[in-house]
Every structure is written in C-alpha cells, then in structure tokens.
C-alpha cells in the first residue's frame, strides 16, 4: 500500500481528500503547514506528496524546492495543488521542481489519473 503525504491547511479539503484517497486504498499522512509538511516528508518518506501552495509557515514552492534539494527526499514525486490557473503558476510549479500540477476545484478523477501516472513511473 502506497503512502501519500497531503500538505493542506484547509480542514475541509484535507478531510475530503484524505477520505477519498483512503477509499482508493492509499495510506494518507497529513500536514497542516509547510514546516510540518517538510518534517513529515523526511520522517515518513511517502511515495507521493500532494502539496497545496498557499500554506502558512512556509509556502508550497519553498517546501518543494527544499525537498527537491535534499538527498533523501529528492526522488519523491510532488503534485502541486493551486487555486489559481494562470500559466505563470504552471511555470512556477515546474520551476520549483514539481512533477505535476493540478488546479482547484479538484476534479478527483483527474487527480487520480495524475497520481497513478506518477506512481507507475516511479515503480518502473
């Protein structure tokens, strides 16, 4: 069973996503802010990280950049979740090192597709 780290500060979004992912068979670990997200990434070593961008303490770009620069977390695929849909955000995401990018409001099916994609690639 794969582990997904969900870094999201909004309680309802966190709750929804966690339960839906669990129903799909994932083990879900949650963090409520950027710092906690960073800590948990190192301690839990998840198979994939879903990173909300607007976070307290440290925003999603920074956490992503950090994790991608640290040896033991570099390999973990990260999907950025953002409320904005500007092309500049897409660029920023990939520039920070994200592997994928999705916009809110989330289309769960679409998100699942991206998750499965990344996990399959990783495995192979």
């Amino acid at each position: 069973m794969s582990t997904i780290l969900l870094v999201e500060d909004n309680e309802m979004n966190r709750d929804m996503l966690t339960r839906r992912l669990q129903r799909k068979g994932f083990n879900v670990v949650v963090a409520c802010d950027g710092l906690q997200g960073h800590k948990l990434a190192h301690s839990e070593m998840p198979d994939l990280i879903l990173m909300d961008i607007s976070l307290p303490e440290m925003n999603g770009w920074e956490v992503t950049r950090l994790l991608k620069s640290e040896g033991d977390t570099r390999h973990i695929p990260i999907i950025a979740l953002t409320a904005h849909a500007l092309s500049s955000d897409r660029e920023k995401a990939f520039e920070a090192g994200c592997d994928e990018y999705d916009t809110k409001p989330l289309d769960f099916a679409r998100l699942m597709g991206k998750i499965e994609n990344l996990l399959t690639v990783k495995k192979s």
């Binding site: 309802m12 979004n13 929804m16 839906r20 129903r23 809110k104 409001p105 989330l106």
Partner: protein, 663 residues
C-alpha cells in the same frame, strides 16, 4: 572762474558792457585824438597869427630901433598866459628886446636868432619865427614861444570828461543790460527750472512756458514736444506695466487654480487607485471565499455518492446527485459572475503565451466526448493545415471554445456539432477563425438581438430546460474583444446556428488596452488605423454589440468607421465627419431612427448622404417615403449590406427597394 561757465545773465551783461565800453572807448579816443590834433593845429595857427600881429605892431619900432616901444608891445603879451617868451631880433640876428613870462626859467632862449622860420614844436613848446617887415623891408625877426598849457589843459579836461562820460554810459548800459538780459536769460532760466522740476518729480505733465517766438521759444517748443512724447511713452509704459501686473496676477491666480486642480486630480487619482486596489482585492478575496465552501459542498457530495454507491442505496444517490448538480451550477454561476465583474472593473488581464493551435483544440475536443454523447450528437472537427502557432491568452481561448461547444451540444439533439478552425489574412493581419456550428434549435431573430448581452438567455424556460447561466456568451464576447477579436453569429430557428469567433493570431497588449478602454468607456470606437483615403461610414445604433459587429465588418471591408450610440450623437458626428454613407437603426432611445432620418434629410449639409436603415421593424414603406436610401433588416446579411454600400458608394439613384432576406 572760467569765463565760459559764467551764467547767461553775467555773460550777457559782460558782453553788453564790453561792447559798449569798447565802442565808447574807441569813440572817445578817436574824438580826443582828432580834437587834440586840430587844436594843436589851431594853436599853431593862432600863434602864427599872433606873431603876425605883433610883428606888424612892432615893425615901426624895429625900423626906428625904438627899444622901448618894442618892449611895450611885447609886454602886452602878458595878457596871453600861454606865451612864454617873445624875442625880437634885429636883422643881423641879435636879440633886440624880449619878453619872458614871469617865473619861467628862460630855457633855450638863444641870444641869436634861431635858424628856422615858421612854426615848430620843440621840447613841448610851440615856437614861431616870423619875419617882421615895414613896407616890404625886413626890419627884424620875431620869435614867439608858447607852452602847450592850453593844449594840455584841454587834453586833460577832455580826457576826464570823456572818462566820466564813459563811466556814466557804462553804468547806464549796465542798468539797461541787466533789465533787458532777462529777455534772453529769463526764458532760459525758467526752462531750466522746469527741467529740474520734471526730472526731480518725474512729472511729465508739466510744460515749459513759452515767452517769445524766437529761437528760445522754439527751443521751448521742442522741449515741450519732447516732454509730451516722454509723457506718452511714460504713460504707455505705465499702462503696459499695469497690464503686465494684472496679467501676472491673472496668471498667478490661474496657476494657483491649476495647482489646486492638479492637487484635486492627484487626490482623486489616489482615491481612484485606492478604490481600484480595493476592487481587485475584493474580487480576489470574494473569488476565494465564494469558491471554498462550494468546493466543500461539491466535494463532500461526491464522496457521499461514492460511499452510497458502495452500499447500494440508490435512492439516496439521486438525492446526492441533485446536491452536486446544484452545487456545480452555483459554482459556474459564481465563476461567471466573478469573471464579468473583473471585466467590468477593467481588471481582467491577459496572460499571453505562444501555443500550437491544433494541439490546443485537440486537447479540448477530447474532453468534450461525454458532453457530445449526452444528447446523442455527432462531433465533426475540421482543422486547416496551416494553423500554426498563436499568441494569446490560452485559458480564455479555451473558455470561449468550451462555451461555444457546450452551447452547441446543449441546444442540439441527435444532430451534428462541427468545429472548423481556419487561419486567414485580412487587412495585413493574420487571424484565427474558430467556427462552431450545430443543427440544433437555432435562435429566433428576436433572441438574436440579445445574444451577447448578459442574463439574456433566450427565455427563462430555456435556461431551466437546458441549463447554463446565460452569461457564457457575454463573457466569451468580452474575452474576444479584450484580445482584439470579434464574434459573429448566424442562426435560423429550427435549422441550427453558427457562431464564429475571430481572433488575431498575435494578440498584443495594445489591443488589450484599447479593448479595456472601450470596455470602461462604452462603445465610442473610432477606426484604429484610419485609412485616410477610404470612405467613412457612420453607424448609428444603440446596441453596443451591433455597433461593434458593424464596425469590425466594415473596417475589414476597408472603410473608415465612426459610431454613435444615439440619434443626437449621430447627427452631431454626421455634421462633423460628413460620412459617405450612414447606417441607421430605427429602434433607439431618445430620438428614434425615423426622426433622425427626417432631420438628416432636412439638413442641407447632410441631405445628400445616403442612409441605410438597419432595423428589425418592418416598415419599409415609411422608410422609402422619408428618403432613406435603403432598408435592411436585422440580423444583417453582410453580403447584402456590402452590396448596398457599394451601390450607394457608386452613386446609383437611391430609393431602391431591396427586399431583405433574414438568415
């Protein structure tokens, strides 16, 4: 004290004195001289005569050698004071008898006869030697000597007299001169005083008094003339100065006003900027705030649906689906409203990027399959070969296409939805053309009027039946405009509809700015690139969509276009611009098209301009009676309109009844 620097008065007096003194002196001197000379002559004559008389008187005595008698005769000379000596000589030259005036030193008395005859002046004595004779026989010689005392006395007297006379005359001359010199110096001194006064007081109104009409008088005249001129100059200067002061004050007050206005403007600007920032942050916040709870509603309801499906409670599934559907509808309404608010506030920006057109379309199309299938429709996509790249706001282009496609799908059942994409060049710019056509229910002419307006979905029942917010087309329309493009729509109820969006292949920020400005100022567009030689067409229509359509279409056809939103404005513009042709909408607020037409035909400046009525009102006859050149019904058949315009441009007679065929 130099003589030249003496005062005029002194000079004049000095001149007079000098002149009169010199004259008197000359006169006196010559008079004296003449007089004394002639007196001397007289004296000598007189002495000579005396010598003769005495000689005559003593002739007898001499002849008879009567010394006593001779001496008596000589002594008689005592009576003559000036005779100093008288000596008679015998013929052999010896002194016979003599007389010498008392108390006189007998100077050069010679015993012997002096050896001359006649008169002589010697040592300030006058001497005469006269030969005495009796009856023609010389009996002796008489020597008479006189001192010049008479002469001296006379000389002295005369000299003193003349001196006194001269002095007296001089004095008199002085007096007269001192009185009369005022004739000359007076005016001059007055002039001098006047001059001092003028220069000391800077009073140029003063004038010097003119006394006499001589050179000085003329000098004074000249001086006065000069003063007048100075006075004029001075008063002109004064008034110029005053004007300058007044103007400076005016300028200052204007500057102050401007400064004030500037300050007001600056503060208004700051207020506007603050308001603008407030708007932006409001929109951003609202955007986020509104969407967040909706996401929860939609998300949770989806979750519940999934969980319920597992447990097989299908009744509940339907309920949950309804919640979802309402939530989703609400979300799209909110998105649309927020989009429109942003556009209205002028805050909708463009994020331009280059992308492959064909690729973008194909990605989109693939997401459409489910929607197509929903109404059992067929999808036909035709992409031209040369679509290449486009520079635009992808998200917006996608949104427009999505809107058109979903409309087409919504309003078509068991039909065909086609998407055609082409690239073409119009008026030295490249355009991408996206055409979505369907074989659906179509749109009635009435409904076409409100097509791109907000909240004007054909009618309420449609909205309920087919869903949708009614805002999609309005937003798509604005998005197209923002990017410098435009929309066209054609439809026939029952047959289907064709929506085409034309977008520049290279959207620029200029187009954005211009479009934004149009957005916030209302539609008062003028041709962006006026073709000066082209004819001008004036479009009068209250519907901004129609104005815009006509504008775009006519510009594409190569005309200069000006637009007006109502009759009054239209008439004003017509007079100013003198267009070649006027297109006129009938149904307008304010004065309606018929009235405008009447006024155009009544105005000599405008009556020659052909007018094409463009309207949905079927009143052709009225139009032709009033002298409208032609009559076209909305929705406008562009080909027909072009034909009409061409006809009228070429100046064929008006009043052609072109029966319209609305598509």
């Amino acid at each position: 004290m130099k003589l030249q620097n003496l005062s005029i008065k002194r000079k004049l007096m000095l001149i007079t004195m000098l002149t009169s003194t010199v004259a008197l002196l000359l006169f006196s001197a010559s008079f004296l001289f003449y007089d004394l000379i002639s007196f001397r002559h007289f004296l000598s004559q007189d002495l000579a005569t005396q010598a003769e008389i005495i000689g005559y008187n003593s002739a007898a005595a001499m002849a008879f050698k009567d010394e006593a008698a001779a001496t008596v005769t000589l002594t008689a000379l005592k009576a003559k004071e000036d005779i100093t000596a008288a000596i008679l000589y015998t013929p052999d030259g010896k002194a016979f008898t003599r007389y010498v005036r008392a108390n006189i030193a007998a100077p050069s008395l010679v015993e012997n006869q002096p050896k001359f005859e006649g008169i002589r002046f010697r040592n300030s004595y006058l001497e005469v030697v006269h030969a005495v004779s009796l009856n023609g026989e010389p009996v002796g010689t008489l020597f008479l000597q006189s001192d010049m005392s008479q002469w001296n006395t006379r000389a002295k007297r005369y000299a003193i007299f003349l001196l006194v006379f001269m002095l007296a005359s001089d004095l008199l001359a002085l007096l007269i001169a001192s009185r009369l010199q005022t004739l000359i110096s007076g005016p001059i001194l007055r002039l001098e005083d006047t001059m001092h006064m003028v220069s000391a007081q800077k009073n140029y109104e003063v004038r010097a008094l003119k006394f006499y009409d001589d050179e000085i008088g003329r000098l004074i005249d000249g001086f006065n003339t000069m003063l007048s001129e100075i006075q004029q100059g001075d008063s002109a200067l004064q008034s110029a100065n005053d004007t300058l002061k007044a103007q400076t004050l005016e300028l200052e007050s204007e500057i102050n006003q401007r400064k004030q206005a500037q300050d007001e403007l600056l503060s208004a600007k700051r207020t506007a900027e603050d308001a603008s920032r407030a708007k932006s942050s409001f929109l951003a916040n609202m955007s986020h705030e509104l969407r967040t709870p909706l996401n929860a509603i939609i998300g949770y309801s989806e979750m519940i649906e999934e969980e319920i499906q597992d447990t097989g409670q299908f009744q509940n599934v339907q309920d949950v689906k309804k919640i979802q559907s309402a939530g989703k509808h609400l979300l799209s309404l909110i998105n649309d409203v927020l989009d429109l608010s942003k556009i209205e506030a002028g805050k909708m920006g463009l994020h331009l990027e280059n992308f492959e057109v064909a690729q973008m379309v194909q990605e989109m199309v693939s997401t459409f399959q489910p929607t197509i299938a929903k109404n059992s429709n067929k999808l036909e996509v035709s992409l031209a070969e040369d679509l290449g790249q486009m520079r635009a706001d992808v998200t917006k282009v996608r949104q427009i296409l999505f809107n058109l496609m979903s409309n087409a799908c919504k309003f078509t059942n068991h039909g065909t939805v086609s998407l055609d994409v082409e690239r073409n060049t119009t008026g030295n710019r490249q355009w991408l053309q996206f055409r979505v056509s369907d074989t659906g229910i179509g749109i009635s002419p009435e409904q076409q009027k409100n097509l791109f307006k907000e909240f004007a979905q054909a009618d309420v029942s449609i909205s309920r039946k087919y869903g949708g917010t009614g805002l999609g087309l309005a937003i798509s329309y604005r998005f197209a405009q923002l990017m410098g493009g435009y929309f066209t729509a054609e439809s026939e109820p029952g047959k289907g509809s064709v929506f085409t969006v034309h977008l520049p292949a290279k959207v620029t920020s200029d187009a954005v700015e211009a479009a934004k400005a149009k957005e916030t100022n209302g539609a008062q567009a003028e041709a962006p690139q006026p073709v000066s030689q082209a004819d001008t067409i004036l479009v009068i229509d209250d519907d901004p969509a129609v104005r815009d359509l006509m504008f775009r279409f006519l510009v594409k056809s190569g005309f200069n276009v000006v637009v007006a939103a109502d009759g009054e404005e239209g008439l004003k513009l017509a007079k100013r611009v003198q267009p070649r042709i006027i297109t006129l909408d009938v149904l307008m607020p304010g004065i309606d098209g018929w009235e405008v037409l009447r006024r155009i035909k009544a105005d000599p400046e405008l009556s020659g301009i052909p007018v094409i009525m463009v309207t949905i009102v079927d009143n052709e006859i009225m139009g032709l009676n009033l002298g409208s050149s032609s009559y076209v019904m909305k929705p406008v058949d562009r080909a027909l309109l072009t034909d009409l315009i061409e006809k009228h441009r070429k100046g064929r007679p008006s009043n052609i009844a072109d029966v319209p065929v609305g598509v």
